[in-house]
Symmetry: C2
Subunit: 357 residues, 2 copies
DNA sequence: TCCGCTTGATCAAGCGTTTTAGCAAAGTTA
DNA sequence: TAACTTTGCTAAAACGCTTGATCAAGCGGA
C-alpha cells in the first residue's frame, strides 16, 4: 500500500510492466483470454494434434503479449521430470586462459540442442567438487561434463556416477564405464613435425616437457611417427627436455644449439616463446637460421611473436562441443578408449616455405 | 520387464544403486522411514522450531542414506517461487583468454551465497542474447550479470529490465536505472605511471591506443594525474598512439626513440611485448636503457617476458565477484555512476629499483 | 429424427516439494 | 481429576505447468 503503485489505474491494453515479485502465470493469461489454462498451454507449446480455433489462438497470444507472460521453467521441468540442463564441472577451466574455450564449445553445442549450461569451477578442491556435483544432481541435469584444464588421467568422483557423464580433456583408466573425449596428441605431434618436414628440414630437434603427462608421450610419439613416415631414423639425441614454460624454452637454447639442427619442435608455445629470446641472443634468425614450431596455439603468444609462430591447435572448443554431443548420444563413443579430437596445424611464418629441393 | 532388473530380489539394507530414470522422491523416503513427507521435509531442512523426536530423525536420515535420496531442486524452487540461480550473459568472456576470470569470480562469489551460475555466451549476437536472457527469466533467476569482454559503454537490452541486473565491465549512459561495476582505469593508469616515477623517471612516454574506449581516456587521465602529483608538467608530445597489439607496440618503437625518454608506459601488455622486440632490435636493454610498464597483467605475457613486465592488473575476477555482491545487495551501489574496482600494480623487473637520487 | 463423428475446449490429476493448521498423546499444574 | 500446555507428527493446500480423459455443440447421413 505504501510504496509505488505503478500504472494501477491506467486503462488496459498497454503492455503492462510486469511486477517482478509476482510474475504473470498461466492462469492469469487464461483468465485474461477467457479460456482455460489447458488451452493456453496448448497454444504455447504449439501441440500439433491440439484443436484450437484460430480466433481463440489469437486471443491467447494477444493476452500473452499484453501481460508479458514468461513460462516458469521450474514448473515445466517438474512435470516433465527432466531438466534442460547440462552440468559442466571444471577443475580450472575458467582460470586458465585458453581452456575457457571448453566452456564456450560446450555452451554453443548445448544451446543448439536446447540445453543450458550449469557450470562450476572447483579449482581442484574435492569438497567443492562434491557440492557442485550434488547441486547438479539436484537440478536433475541431463548429464555432466567433467573437465580438466590440461589433458590427464583422472579419478572419477563416486557421485558423478549418479548421472550420465562424459570426461572432457581427461580420461579414466577404467574406460569401460566412462566415456571421454581428449585431444589427439600423437596426431598433433605428427602434424607439428610435418610442418617442419614440409619446410625441407631433416634434422629436427624436439624439446619435450619434463612433466609426465599424456601430452608428453603423445607429442613425442607423433614426432617419431612423422619421421618414420619420411624414412628418417629417430635419434634420441635430438630430444631434449625442459620445463614447459618460457624460462624452460629459453634455458634449453644452449643445448639445442649443440645439436646442430635446422629446425626445432617445442612441446608448447610458451617454450617456443622463450626459445625465441634465446635464439635471438645468439644472433640467430627465425626461420632462416632455425625454424620453430610450437604446440597449443595460444593465440596471444603464437599469433603475435616475431615472426608469428607455426603451431598446432589444442582443440578446446571442439572438446567442449564433442563432449556435449557424446553426452546427448549424438556422437558415438569409441569402444577403444576416449574419443580423440584432431589438433589442426596452424602455419605461420616461423617456418620458411620450402622451395622444392 | 524386458531389460536389466538390477538387484531386484536382493535383501534390503544395502545402499541401493539408484535408478537414474526414476529418482527417489520424498514420498519414498517417507514410506521407508514410516513417517509422513512433511516430517522428512522438516528433518532435511533442519527447521529449528520443528519438533522431531531424536529417534524419528534418526530413522529418516537412515532412510535418506539408504535410498540415496537427492532433493529435487525444481520442486523446491517451484514452491519457493524463486530459484537459486544467477545468470551471466557474456558477449565474449569465455572467448577471451583473461576475461574468463569474470566467470570465475562470479562463480565463486555466487556459490558462496548458495547460488549457481547459469551462463550464456552470446558472442555479441543480439538474437542469441535475447534468447539467453529469456531462458534466464524463465528459470526465474535471482538476477542477471550482463558482461562485456572489454570495458565499454553498452545498450541495455529491453528484456534485461524484466529482471534484477548488474552491468559488469560495462556501463550505460543511463546510469540512473542501472547498476554497474567497472575497472578503475584512471587509478590504474596512475599506478602504472607511479611505478615509473618511483623508479626515478621524470620524462615518461605514454603509448596510448588508437581505439576509442573508456580505457583510452582513463589510462591517459591516470598518467596525467600521476605526473601532476609529482609536479611534472604534462607534455602532449610524449603521448603516442598505436593499435593496441604486439604489432602496434613494435611499430611505435621508432617514434618512441625520438622522444628521448627514459621510460615508457604502454596502453597494454601486448603493446609492451611488441615494444620489447623493437627496443631489442635497437640494441636497447630493459630496464637499463629504458624502463617499460604495461597494463592488463596478462599473465602468459607479462610474467614471462624477458625481463618480466611491470604492469597493472585488470581485476576481472573481482569484477565478477563484485557484480554478484552488487546484485545481491551485499555491496552498495555508487550513486554517481558505476562502482569502480581498483587495478592493482604488479611490479616486476622491467623497471629498475631506484637507488635514491 | 436419431446416431455418430468432428471440432473446440475444459476438467482434473499429477509432478516433488514446503508449510500452516490441526490433532492426539503425554506431561504439567492445581 | 480436570484443564492446560507441550511435544511429535500429519493432512492437505499450494507452487505453475502438462496432458489424457471428457464433454458439449454442431453437422452430415440414413
Amino acid at each position: 500500500m505504501i510504496s509505488q503503485e505503478k500504472n494501477s489505474g491506467s486503462a488496459a491494453d498497454v503492455p503492462i510492466t510486469t511486477d517482478r515479485a509476482h510474475p504473470v502465470t498461466l492462469r492469469e493469461v487464461a483468465e485474461a483470454a477467457g479460456v482455460s489454462t489447458a488451452t493456453v498451454s496448448l497454444v504455447i507449446n504449439k501441440k500439433k494434434n491440439a484443436r484450437i480455433a484460430d480466433e481463440t489462438r489469437r486471443r491467447v497470444q494477444e493476452a500473452i503479449r499484453r501481460l508479458g507472460y514468461r513460462p516458469n521453467a521450474m514448473a515445466k521441468n517438474l512435470v516433465s521430470g527432466t531438466s534442460k540442463f547440462i552440468g559442466l564441472v571444471a577443475d580450472g577451466v575458467a582460470t586458465t586462459p585458453f581452456a575457457g574455450q571448453i566452456i564456450h564449445g560446450a555452451q554453443d553445442e548445448a544451446w543448439k540442442h536446447g540445453y543450458a549450461l550449469l557450470i562450476a569451477n572447483t579449482e581442484g578442491n574435492v569438497d567443492l567438487e562434491k557440492d557442485a556435483i550434488a547441486m547438479m544432481l539436484e537440478y536433475k541435469v541431463r548429464g555432466i561434463l567433467y573437465s580438466t584444464w590440461f589433458h590427464r588421467a583422472t579419478e572419477i568422483p563416486a557421485t558423478l556416477r549418479e548421472s550420465d557423464f562424459v570426461l572432457v580433456n581427461c580420461f579414466s583408466p577404467d574406460s569401460l564405464t566412462s566415456r571421454a573425449v581428449v585431444p589427439d596428441e600423437a596426431q598433433g605431434g605428427k602434424s607439428a613435425t610435418e610442418i617442419l618436414l614440409r619446410g625441407g628440414h631433416r634434422r629436427i630437434a624436439f624439446i619435450n616437457t619434463t612433466t609426465p603427462a599424456p601430452a608428453k608421450d603423445g607429442r613425442l610419439k607423433g614426432y617419431m611417427d612423422a619421421l618414420e613416415a619420411e624414412g628418417i631414423a629417430f635419434d634420441p639425441e635430438l630430444v631434449l627436455e625442459a620445463y614447459p614454460d618460457q624460462e624452460g624454452g629459453y634455458g634449453a637454447t644452449e643445448d639445442l644449439l649443440k645439436l646442430n639442427v635446422s629446425a626445432v619442435y617445442c612441446y608448447n608455445d610458451r617454450m617456443a616463446m622463450g626459445l625465441y629470446d634465446g635464439l635471438r641472443e645468439h644472433g640467430l634468425a627465425i626461420p632462416d637460421d632455425i625454424a620453430v614450431v610450437g604446440f597449443d596455439n595460444q593465440e596471444v603468444i603464437a599469433a603475435h611473436l616475431r615472426p608469428p609462430l607455426s603451431t598446432v591447435s589444442l582443440p578446446h572448443y571442439e572438446l567442449g562441443a564433442a563432449g556435449v554431443r557424446l553426452l546427448l548420444g549424438l556422437d558415438q563413443a569409441d569402444v577403444e578408449g576416449p574419443v580423440k579430437i584432431a589438433c589442426p596445424a596452424v602455419e605461420r611464418a616461423s617456418v620458411a616455405v620450402h622451395s622444392a629441393a
